[in-house]
Symmetry: C2
C-alpha cells in the first residue's frame, strides 16, 4: 500500500542528533559573502556553526573531512518565498493569468486536500509534497526556504526528517477564498499562536524551524485580521510575509475597496516594519517605493513567477537605488515549475537588464546578494554569509564542469554558468544533508516511488493532481 513515507526515512544522521565536527579542506574558492572571496582555505564546522576559517587547519579528532580541492564553498541559497504544496502542480497549464490560474490550478488542489481526503491522507500527502520539494531544494543547493502554507503541520515534520531549515509562514485569510480555506475566528487565532509557541519559541527543540505569519494578500484579509497579525508578530517577535501588488488587477481592486494603493494602505494601518517582507511588488509608484524604503520592510522578488503569469516586471533597480533590501524567491512550482535559485538569479539579472534596456544596471553580485544575504534577512536567520560564528549552512559546488570553465570571475561563474546539478554537497545546521549528490537523511528513490504510488491511489479514488 501507499502512504508509508515515514518508513523511507533513514535514521542517521538526525538533525537533532549528536554534535558533529566537519573540516572542509582546501576550498579552491570560498565566497564569504557576495563581495568577499578567498582561495585555498579550510573551513571548520563545530556543532551547528562555523568555528574557524584559515589555511591548513589541523583536523580535530573525529572530524569528518571533506576535500574541496578546486571546488567552491559558498553560503547555501535561501529561497525567500515559495508554496511547497504546488510541487505537485509543476508543468500544468501555462497559459493562464494569475486570477484564472488560482481558480483553475491552485484552489482545486487545496480544496481536494481540505475536503476530499481523510485527515490521515491529507497529512500524508502534505508530508510527501514537502519531502519532494525539500529534496529538490537541497539538490539545488538551497539550505533554507520560506513556505507560505495554509495549515499543514506535516510540512514541518518533513523538514525535520530531511534536515532542511525552513520558515513556515502560516497563511491566514478570511476573504475572497472558498469557505473551506477561510478562517478568522478566535479559535483560529489561538491555533496560530500555539504554532508559534510550539516551534518558533523553542529553538532548542526545533533548531531548523521558524514560524512566521503569512496573510496571503490584502484582498484576502480584512483590516481587522491584518491588524491582529501585525500586533501578534510583534508580541512574539516573529516575521510576517504578504503578497503585495503582484498584478494590476490587485492594485485596482484594493484602490476600489480600501481607497488607497496597496502599499499606501498597509502604511496607513501601521502594518509595515522591518519584520515584514513584501512579495512581488511588481506595480509600485515612486511614492510607494519611498514608503517601503522608510519602513525598513524587505521586498521578495520572484522574477520567473511574475514572468510566467504575465504579471509584469518589478522595479528592482529603482528599489535598489532607494536602499530597499531585495531578496529572491522562486514562488511555488505552479508558477515557476522549479525551485532553482541558479535559474532564478539569472532571470533576476537578465530581466532587469532588458527592462531597462541597459546592461549596466545590475550585475551578478547583486543577484547573488539577493539569493543569500537578503533572503537570509527575510528568514531572520544568521546565515547567507560564511564567517566564524555564523550558522553552518553551506554548499560545495563543482566549478570545473564543461559549462563553467574557464573561470574569469567566480561570482559570475556561479550566477551565470553553474547549474543546480553542480552542487555536490549541502551542509545545513552543521549536518551533511547531501553528499556527492546523494541525500543522506532520506531515501530519495523511495520518496519518489511513494509519491507516484499515492498519485495512482488518489486517481483510483477520483482525486486528480
Amino acid at each position: 500500500m501507499v502512504i508509508n513515507a515515514v518508513n523511507s526515512i533513514i535514521t542517521q544522521p538526525k538533525p537533532n542528533g549528536e554534535e558533529m565536527t566537519i573540516l572542509i579542506k582546501n576550498a579552491g574558492y570560498l565566497i564569504r559573502k557576495y563581495n568577499k572571496i578567498e582561495n585555498d582555505v579550510d573551513i571548520l564546522i563545530e556543532g551547528n556553526h562555523i568555528s574557524k576559517i584559515a589555511r591548513s587547519i589541523k583536523a580535530p579528532k573525529n572530524a569528518e573531512i571533506i576535500n574541496a580541492k578546486g571546488k567552491l564553498v559558498a553560503p547555501g541559497f535561501v529561497n525567500a518565498h515559495t508554496h511547497l504544496y504546488q510541487n505537485l502542480l509543476k508543468g500544468m497549464n501555462d497559459r493562464l493569468s494569475l486570477t484564472d490560474w488560482v481558480q483553475e490550478i491552485t484552489f482545486p488542489l487545496c480544496n481536494t486536500v481540505s475536503t476530499k481526503l481523510t485527515k490521515n491522507e491529507s497529512k500524508k500527502i502534505a508530508y510527501l509534497w514537502s519531502l519532494l520539494a525539500g529534496i529538490e531544494a537541497v539538490k539545488n543547493g538551497i539550505s533554507c526556504l520560506l513556505d507560505m502554507d495554509l495549515k499543514h503541520i506535516d510540512v514541518i515534520r518533513a523538514w525535520n526528517d530531511l534536515g532542511l531549515r525552513g520558515v513556515c509562514a502560516r497563511t491566514v485569510v478570511d476573504k475572497w477564498v472558498p469557505d473551506d480555506l477561510s478562517e478568522a475566528s478566535a479559535e483560529q487565532y489561538k491555533k496560530i499562536e500555539e504554532l508559534i509557541e510550539a516551534y518558533h519559541l523553542t529553538p532548542q527543540d526545533s533548531p531548523l524551524i521558524s514560524v512566521f505569519i503569512g496573510p496571503s494578500t490584502i484582498f484576502t484579509c480584512s483590516e481587522e485580521l491584518l491588524k491582529w497579525i501585525a500586533k501578534t508578530a510583534e508580541k512574539y517577535d516573529t516575521g510576517v510575509q504578504i503578497h503585495v501588488s503582484e498584478t494590476n488587477w490587485e492594485v485596482e481592486s484594493i484602490k476600489k475597496e480600501r481607497g488607497l494603493r496597496p502599499v499606501e494602505y498597509l502604511d496607513k494601518i501601521g502594518f509595515l516594519s522591518p519584520r515584514v517582507s513584501l512579495v512581488h511588488c511588481v506595480h509600485l509608484t515612486e511614492k510607494e517605493i519611498s514608503i517601503i524604503a522608510e519602513s525598513g520592510a524587505t521586498v521578495v522578488h520572484c522574477p520567473k513567477s511574475n514572468m510566467k503569469l504575465g504579471s509584469g516586471t518589478a522595479p528592482v533597480v529603482e528599489m535598489m537605488k532607494q536602499g530597499i533590501p531585495i531578496a529572491l524567491g522562486t514562488d511555488g512550482s505552479a508558477s515557476n515549475d522549479l525551485l532553482d535559485m541558479f535559474e532564478e538569479m539569472r532571470f533576476a539579472a537578465l530581466l532587469q537588464k532588458v527592462k531597462n534596456e541597459d546592461a549596466t544596471v545590475i550585475g551578478g553580485s547583486d543577484v547573488y546578494k539577493m539569493a543569500t544575504v537578503e533572503s537570509a534577512r527575510v528568514c531572520q536567520n544568521n546565515a547567507g554569509i560564511i564567517e566564524e560564528g555564523k550558522l553552518a549552512d553551506l554548499i560545495i559546488v563543482d566549478v570545473n564542469q564543461v559549462h563553467s570553465i574557464p573561470t574569469h570571475d567566480i561570482i559570475n561563474t556561479l550566477v551565470y554558468c553553474s547549474k543546480a546539478n553542480d552542487v555536490d554537497t549541502v551542509i545545513i545546521n552543521g549536518k551533511i544533508v547531501m553528499r556527492e549528490r546523494v541525500i543522506q537523511t532520506i531515501d530519495e528513490k523511495d520518496t519518489l516511488r511513494e509519491l507516484c504510488e499515492m498519485r495512482k491511489y488518489f486517481e483510483r479514488k477520483g482525486v486528480k493532481f
Copy 2:
C-alpha cells in the same frame, strides 16, 4: 606540454565509420514533434536515419539495444545561432552594452587569435574551443548547432571528431571591424567558395557538416559584399545568416548610412529569401514584420542574449501571428554564458508572457517548436521531427527526476521542468555520441585538462583569455 588535443580522441566510433543499427525499446514517451506524442513505442535506427517506429519491434541482428522504459525520446535540440569561440569568454564582465562588449570582450580574443598566436597555436585553440563548446552542447541535448565564425577550419575538424552536426556560417565582413578581421578581396571570396565546395557539396564525405555564408551585420558589410553573398548562396543553394536589428543603435546607424531601416534595406537590395535567417530582430516596425513574412526568411530569436546585453525584447508574438518561422539560438557564451536550450526555451516563453503582460500569448509547445522544427529549418536539415526517413538525431531524457515529477503534460515537463543534466543519451546521424551522460567519441576530462593547460601556457606568453 599543451596543444595535443588530437591525442584525446578515442578512435571508436567514428562519425564516418561503419553503419550502425540501434533499437530504442519501450520509450515511455515519444515526442514525434511539438504537437504529436506517443507512449510505449520502439524506435529503430538504421544507418543515419530512423527506419521504423512501432510497438514491439523485433531487434535486428547486431542491433545495439537501448532501454528507454519510462524515459522520453525526443528530437535533439538544434541551436540555430551561436559563436563557439566565445565559449572561452563565459562569465566575463556582465555590465556592458553590445557595442562596448564587442570592443572590450569579443574583439580582443579575435585579435589575439589572429595576430598574437602562431598559426599552429591558433588552429589548436580553435579546435579546443570547438570541442569544449561541442561537448557542452551534446551534454545539453543539442544534436546540431549553427556557428557563426570567422575562419577557423579547425572548428569543423572538432565537430567531426566529436560526432556533432554543425553548420559553419562562415563570417564575412569588410567594414567597421579591426583591419585584421576585414576581408573583401577577390582572394577572400574565392576562399569562401572553396570552403563551400569542400564541405557543403560533399555530403558523402562530410555528412555532419554544412557551410552557410554569414555576413555579420549590415553595418559591417558593404552593399557590394551583401549582394555577392546573396548571389553566391543562390549559386551553391546554401543558407545565409545575418544579425539584424539587435539594438536601437544599429537601427539608427543603418538609417543614417543606408537611408532605410535594416529590414527595409535588405529587402531593397534583394537580399531576403527563404534561404536567409535573420538573427535577433529585436527592433522591428510592423512594416518590417510584414516584409519578413512575405520574404519567407526565418527569424532566430536569442532571448537570453538580448536580455543580457540589454538590447530589448523581440516582437515574437507579433511575428508568430504573421506566420514567420521563429527558431531559437543561444547566441555565444559571452552574451549568454550557456549553450542550454532548456533554459533558452524557458526564457523565450517567459519573456513574451511578461512583455505582453499576458500569460496566454505563448506556451510550452510554441517554444519547443522553435528549438526543434524551426531551428532545423534554419540549418536546412531533415531533423527536428522523429519520423521514418528523418535523420536519426535524437535524445533520451530522464523525466523521473525529483524536479520533473509528477508529469501533467509531457511537453510542459520538458520545457519548464527538465534540465540539461536529465539528457542521458544523444544520438546524432545514427551514432551514439553520449550514453548515460558519458561522451563516447572524445575523452571529456582530457579535453578540459588540455584547455586549462593551454590557458596557463598562453598566460605565460602574456596572452589572456
